[in-house]
Symmetry: C2
Subunit: 162 residues, 2 copies
């Protein structure tokens, strides 16, 4: 591997371990458990799960890795905080969507060379990118990796204390 | 910047924004506020602060960036869970230590070329590193970035809901 490839490999390993830990945390929760809140008055687990589905689904478009699959979930899981209402989709279905979207991302990532990672993402104009080349796909990968870990830190608070 | 430098720059930006957000979250908390728990029965904010100080202090040694400064804090903030006892150091002092240790790390990072980042960290033998070259300094930077974000996700649960 070249130096660039090694650096990207490191970031992809961190992404992979982060999403796998998140996927595992939700893989066996009942509908009742998904109604638990991460702290009193805060988001339900079901909301956190849907929120990550939406953010990762939007990565497909942001990284120009294909069309997104679930834009209908934005209203509930992204544009509003958790107000405790009935979600538009079941936990079982959200878990399936998560695995599907994460797999689509992995599939795209495996094909990209370093120059692809350093290309602009779709939310920045060519003009702005010329001035701010750090607004590339690699920065999106890093920011979404820390995003899932931010929420993981909350999710573990609902697990039995080890 | 070369491609390698751009990739490292992206990771350093994510590290920097993560630690700055953490430092800000703690910069104005009273001793009473530091006694708040991130969730019922879970770690106090004071413990989370000390935990991050210890983990970042240990990075100095792990990255061969200089001697660590506060090994006496490991027993309370790393090797035991938060049992609610009296901490060996005040919140004010922990905040100072955090800024100091993070600055020492930044100082080291600013001097490293891509080959330095891809060098082994100190907790892996030369023999193992030959087989697992991903166990490099760059991977430590990424794993400690997600670590601070994991705890940030918990810390924000004690803040007034926006």
């Amino acid at each position: 591997m070249t130096a660039e490839e090694q650096l990207i490999d490191g970031a992809l390993r961190t992404w992979k371990s982060s999403i796998e830990r998140f996927e595992r945390a939700f893989s066996n929760l009942s509908d009742d458990q998904l109604e638990m809140r991460v702290a009193p008055g805060r988001n339900r687990l079901l909301y956190v799960l849907g929120h990550i589905v939406v953010v990762h689904d939007r990565m497909l478009e942001l990284l120009d890795a294909g069309p997104r699959r679930h834009p209908e979930l934005d209203a509930f899981f992204l544009l509003s905080p958790d107000e405790g209402g009935q979600a538009p989709v079941s936990g079982l279905k959200l878990n399936e969507m998560l695995l599907d979207v994460d797999a689509a991302l992995s599939n795209a990532f495996s094909a990209w060379a370093p120059t692809d990672w350093l290309s602009k993402h779709t939310a920045v104009s060519a003009e702005d990118f010329a001035k701010e080349p750090q607004r590339n796909r690699f920065s999106v990968l890093l920011s979404r990796t820390v995003h899932v870990q931010f929420h993981l830190g909350q999710v573990v608070l609902t697990e039995p204390r080890s």
